[in-house]
Symmetry: C2
């Protein structure tokens, strides 16, 4: 009955950044153990270790091979698991640290952004049977050939969620330096409130539209295997935010939270001949430069003969995109290209949006009331986003937060 | 024909302590590659990394489990091999880093002082076939169960020598921050000279009697598999010291070098009843406290009925040893116990000593001429050691160095 009372606790870099914090995390795991749980910990590299290792790499090479980057960076988590095991032993309890190779966390061979393919359970279950707290190195994996891989920056969350899924844990607890997910970034909106419960879908949209709290793939794992993810503070015992399957009650709240994503550029291709292949040419050319494009919107006019196409990119990709777009404009006869190199995107996210009409209208009203000009609008099932000028971003976020009454009991006041 | 032109280059921590030094080591390996050699590098952890990791361990635990210490410490070498591979790639050449697990450097399961049992050749040979410089993490191993082990402090030398042995390399080059082995510690004897060639036996004796330049097990590997070990500077191209099998020419020099080992205590058990079991009781009791005893000497008197026994220990072990000895003295009826807590040992080492008479006399003469009182004398096949007071140590060393004329062409002037 391995599944009964098993808990996965993941501790981020800020929660293991010194001996005192490592001991605090160790005590939390020991407490869960004493409460009768089987405990698997996942730990990240201490504090700024990963950045320090990257800086060493940049000192010796302008373009380090990805295989060797993975060899280098995985040492950070290996240090943490060893120290965590020592701390638990020091407190008089049994623990064992495991690297991805020792655990059998198998990935594909795509260095620096590998994907988990399989997690062996034998070693884990054997150590748990012995009554040990098992400490797994986050972020790392191993491929079929025994090569060391990593899952991408921030992916210790993913390790935690994947382990929780494989072991059928009741929940994956993500301990971090914030006490949960907020209705808006509290640094920008002082009356932002902690969200008690949020659906996987909403959390994915919040994460992709600017809320940096969680690694998206971890949320996907939780969703796919229906493992609740509890994001909470490593400093207190207060409950944090539970990321979980959508429940009926959730829909009574139209908007769960609002987000701001900065450092973007908005690109407009004006008066494109609206012919098959035109749009695909643009985006294949841009993708060929490894530029990620977001929020593509197209309108047509002139009886469908012309189109205006807009999209959003990272501001740093603006120069290259401008070159490509202006060349294509000449070759293919657009009327013009416009690039706004300093914009932000504000979004409102909520599964309740589906059943509440008027959410969009309320958002536009809020922005209008704050005298904020809207560049583009895009909507999906549970998100409405507007691009605004960079300087308007924080004010737009605050206006939306107020309009949807998110400061009141977790957004409960928003009607529709 | 893997054996042809294969070279193993080992770089110590001071030779890879920053990006510039890593690049310098990389260039040396690349040069060997361009000269037509197949190149295997062994690297240690950067600079003081191992000490820093140990200090982290001490921050979280007063008595860290040895398994977790190995988990922790092996990250130091993993960082170095990744950076070295990046540096070689950066210079436009092919390289690959390998952990002990990836290479298949199998050891027993004695954490923190494991012994090498087997080294797999397949992966190494495959990578060399591909024309790559192979960079192996020193100091670490893996046991049958996949547990990470270490070979003891300074044991990257041993990794290098073992690899050279397994691969049938022409030599194992040990790059370090000194340019070879000296006739005496140059900090104490300014006219000490670099030794060109020294036998494995002599080097083992020099190392165990105070010359800290090499890990003893590395020398044993070299001796067992007849792999010459070339200790040389990572900063210059000058040849260093070749540690190799004894050759006829070597014996024409009586003394190869002199050494000083400090921070010792000398213990004398006076007037022991000379009965079977007496001496063994003493040394089992002392060994039971994990105290290492060196240079045991015994004389008898009173028609063989009484014995005086002397031995040397680390000064820090003196208090415990004193307790044990004084208790035994009471229980077993010795006449007395004397401990000199601040002594040093000077030794003269040389295979030529076997065929040259008068070496001991010359040494005592030198000490007497310098008005140095001798506490104990012990001799073996190729070593003569004297214990003297700590304050006399450096002067004793210098007097011996001069008496054996070691400053002249590598000790060639010493007759016998």
């Amino acid at each position: 009955m391995l599944h009964m009372g098993l808990v996965v606790q993941k501790f981020g870099g800020t929660s293991v950044s010194d001996a005192q914090k490592i001991h605090r995390a160790a005590r939390r795991a020991i407490r869960a153990k004493l409460d009768g749980h089987r405990v698997v910990m996942v730990v990240s590299a201490m504090g700024r270790t990963t950045d320090k290792l990257l800086s060493l790499a940049n000192d010796v090479s302008s373009n380090p091979p990805k295989r060797e980057l993975d060899m280098l960076l995985t040492t950070g988590e290996q240090v943490s698991i060893a120290l965590m095991a020592m701390a638990i032993h020091d407190a008089g309890h049994e623990a064992i640290s495991l690297t991805a190779a020792q655990l059998g966390l198998m990935t594909d061979s795509v260095h620096t952004k590998a994907r988990i393919q399989r997690i062996e359970r034998q070693r884990l279950e054997r150590e748990l049977e012995l009554g040990r707290i098992v400490i797994v190195a986050g972020f790392q994996g191993i491929d079929q050939a025994g090569e060391i891989t990593t899952l991408g920056r921030g992916a210790s969350d993913t390790t935690g969620a994947a382990l929780a899924a494989v072991l059928g844990a009741g929940a994956c607890e993500i301990y971090t330096d914030v006490d949960g997910v907020y209705t808006a970034d509290p640094r920008l909106v002082p009356d932002a409130r902690k969200i008690d419960r949020i659906s996987y879908d909403e959390m994915l949209e919040m994460a992709s539209s600017g809320a940096g709290v969680m690694h998206s793939r971890a949320i996907e794992f939780g969703m796919r295997f229906n493992v609740p993810i509890h994001v909470r503070s490593s400093l207190t015992d207060a409950p944090g935010t539970m990321i979980m399957a959508e429940t009926e009650g959730m829909e009574t709240i139209a908007i769960r939270g609002v987000t701001l994503r900065e450092n973007l550029a908005a690109v407009f291709l004006i008066g494109m001949p609206n012919q098959p292949g035109m749009v695909s040419t643009v985006f294949s050319e841009i993708a060929g430069h490894n530029i990620i494009v977001d929020d593509i919107i197209q309108n047509i006019y002139d009886s469908g003969r012309k189109a205006n196409v807009g999209f959003v990119i990272d501001a740093e990709d603006a120069p290259v995109t401008k070159e490509v777009a202006e060349r294509l404009a000449k070759e293919q006869g657009y009327e013009g290209v416009e690039i706004h190199e300093s914009v932000s995107k504000v979004s409102a996210v909520g599964v309740g949006m589906r059943s509440h009409s008027g959410v969009a209208a309320k958002m536009f009203d809020a922005l209008s009331g704050a005298k904020i000009n809207i560049y583009t609008i895009s909507t999906s099932e549970i998100v409405i986003s507007c691009v605004v000028s960079r300087e308007d971003g924080p004010r737009a976020l605050a206006a939306m937060h107020e309009a949807f009454e998110l400061a009141k009991s977790n957004g409960g006041g928003s009607e529709g």
